[in-house]
């Protein structure tokens, strides 16, 4: 600690250069934060997926429907402990840009299947008792200032009622929270019986996909195979896969998100490596004489090496912490896409990774100038002044 003022004073030597380097590091880490949050939003669901849950969809595509009657047949397959279904409603509330998901479900089995959605008991009872009832996640409720007792109109881009109207109305009877950070609390769920009865002839008795809970997660692959075999050679063959793989495949429609993010960050940090490395190299070159004086008065080669490395790390960690902090503040304001990225947040794990990167960046950019400083011969360094 007693050397800190010495390190700090060196950083203040060329204020403009240090500020510009700091700024470039800061911007890189803001970008890192946002890309982490976007990656989390797109593929974070994989981590949140239940290990004991399988998704059953139409073999051709997720947009092809499956008969609701499959549910009973699935329940008879050995190893299946629970089955629930959902259907894509594709609704719009006021403005198409204000996207959030709405799905018709069967309340009891749905809530049993997804225990990560926390709904107060009285609200659950109200949902069971209200045919037009819907529950909505806290994020969307706060976004639209909805509260229980509100009646909300939603226009479906897919489903028309028997009278031809695409306008549906739901009574908000509950607001659910997520048990864990990262649980998506944007969707609205309403009752399937109301939906199936009210919708027109097209699609009646059809659902989007099923979620299966297996009794033994270790036997999930075997159960998936049995499910697909059950519906082989039918008019609607199925494809069953773990929930994580399903979410992954969903996100992969945009490409390999992880690879894209890694490529962008790789390019950014490589540039920063050059910028900060150049700053440190210049800083050391400029004060060869001063380093010679330090050695003359008794600083060892190791201490000089450490001073330069600490200086370089201080620069990158300062930029990193400020960048990560700003990114955290900006990301905490929520999904910037009005609902397209419901799980948009900066994971703590990535925050720590960012901090680690800032230290590594300091070490890598500082090591060569530090070695150069360490190897300086005192007499030569003093002659150079």
């Amino acid at each position: 600690m007693k050397y800190l003022h010495l390190v700090w004073s060196n950083l203040k030597r060329k204020k403009l250069r240090t500020s510009l380097t700091l700024l470039s590091i800061l911007v890189a880490f803001i970008l890192f934060g946002f890309l982490s949050a976007i990656q989390q939003a797109l593929v974070g669901g994989v981590a949140m997926a239940g290990a004991d849950r399988l998704i059953v969809r139409h073999k051709v595509s997720i947009i092809q429907m499956l008969p609701e009657s499959y549910k009973a047949r699935m329940e008879r397959i050995p190893g299946v402990s629970l089955v629930a279904h959902q259907t894509w409603f594709g609704g719009i509330y006021q403005d198409p840009k204000k996207f959030f998901m709405q799905n018709p479900v069967v309340p009891e089995e749905f809530l049993s299947m997804f225990p990560e959605l926390v709904l107060p008991t009285e609200q659950k009872q109200a949902w069971l008792a209200t045919r037009t009832g819907a529950i909505v996640g806290r994020t969307t409720a706060e976004r639209f200032h909805w509260k229980t007792g509100d009646r909300v109109p939603i226009q479906s881009s897919i489903w028309a009622q028997e009278n031809g109207s695409r306008n549906w109305e739901f009574d908000i009877v509950g607001i659910y929270d997520g048990k864990k950070k990262g649980t998506d609390t944007t969707p609205l769920f309403f009752r399937y019986d109301y939906f199936d009865e009210a919708r027109g002839r097209w699609g009646k008795g059809q659902v989007g996909w099923f979620t299966i809970r297996v009794a033994d997660p270790a036997r999930a692959a075997e159960v998936a195979k049995l499910v697909d075999q059950e519906f082989e050679n039918s008019s609607a063959e199925t494809k069953t896969e773990p929930e994580g793989a399903f979410v992954q495949a969903w996100a992969s429609q945009l490409g390999n998100i992880v690879l894209i993010v890694a490529a962008i960050l790789g390019a950014v940090f490589f540039t920063i490596l050059l910028v900060a490395g150049n700053t440190m190299a210049q800083a050391v070159r400029e004060r060869t004489g001063e380093l010679g004086v330090l050695k003359a008065i008794g600083f060892t080669n190791g201490q000089v090496l450490a001073l330069v490395l600490v200086e370089s790390c201080l620069l990158t960690v300062l930029g990193g912490v400020l960048g990560l902090g700003l990114a955290w503040v900006m990301i905490s304001r929520g999904d910037p896409t009005s609902g397209l990225l419901p799980m948009f947040f900066f994971p703590t794990r990535d925050l720590l990774v960012g901090l680690g990167i800032s230290i590594a960046l300091g070490l890598v950019t500082g090591i060569f100038p530090a070695l150069q400083a360490m190897r300086l011969q005192v007499a030569d360094a003093l002659r150079g002044t």
């Binding site: 010495l6 030597r13 004086v293 050695k295 003359a296 008065i297 008794g298 600083f299 080669n301 002044t385």
Partner: protein, 235 residues
Amino acid sequence: MNESGTDNGALVHVDGVGKVFHRGSEDIHVLTDLHLQVPAGEFLALMGPSGSGKTTLLNLIGGLDRPTEGSVTIAGESVHQLSDRRLAGWRARHIGFVFQLYNLMPTLTTERNVELPLLLTHLSKSERKKHVAAALAMVGLSHRAGHYPRTLSGGEQQRAGIARGIVTDPTLLLCDEPTGDLDRKAGDEILKLLHALNREHGKTIIMVTHDPHAPARAARTVYLNKGQLSSEPLA
């Protein structure tokens, strides 16, 4: 011819020292079979023309460089045999340096500059502060403690350099042309200050200089020419 001081009780022993620099395929013999002894408490002025090897000799005595041959012993320690790491520690404990161009850190205040050698000791912050205040008082620079070098005159900067050199109370103070960058008046003040440090505080000082007024202040003057020492200047 070689110049020796009193052999008995000498603080500095330079015995048969030679220094060769290699420049490409050429060997440059800067010092040859040089002997010098400096008793504790002496103020020695080392004079000679440019390129005569004065600074090289000072660097060898201060452990900043190693002789090609011969030995340098300071207070019983064979300096030339120490490893780089031990040599650095030895310098921190025993040697104070004063440079021609002051070599203060421009980003540190005067007191922070003076404090630098104390960072290598186990002294607490308050103890360091006391030592710094004492050193600054000794060179008459207490009123400039919080100022940065760029705001000090040349003479003041050199006083700060001297304060940094003596703050650890070193065995030996080595000055490399301390008046070389100063005007006559400021140069005289620095010589007077070094003289006082030697007389009143018993500092052993070896000063490389071109200053014609230096011999008047030093207890002894030796002359270096073409790698050899003598007690008389060359005609």
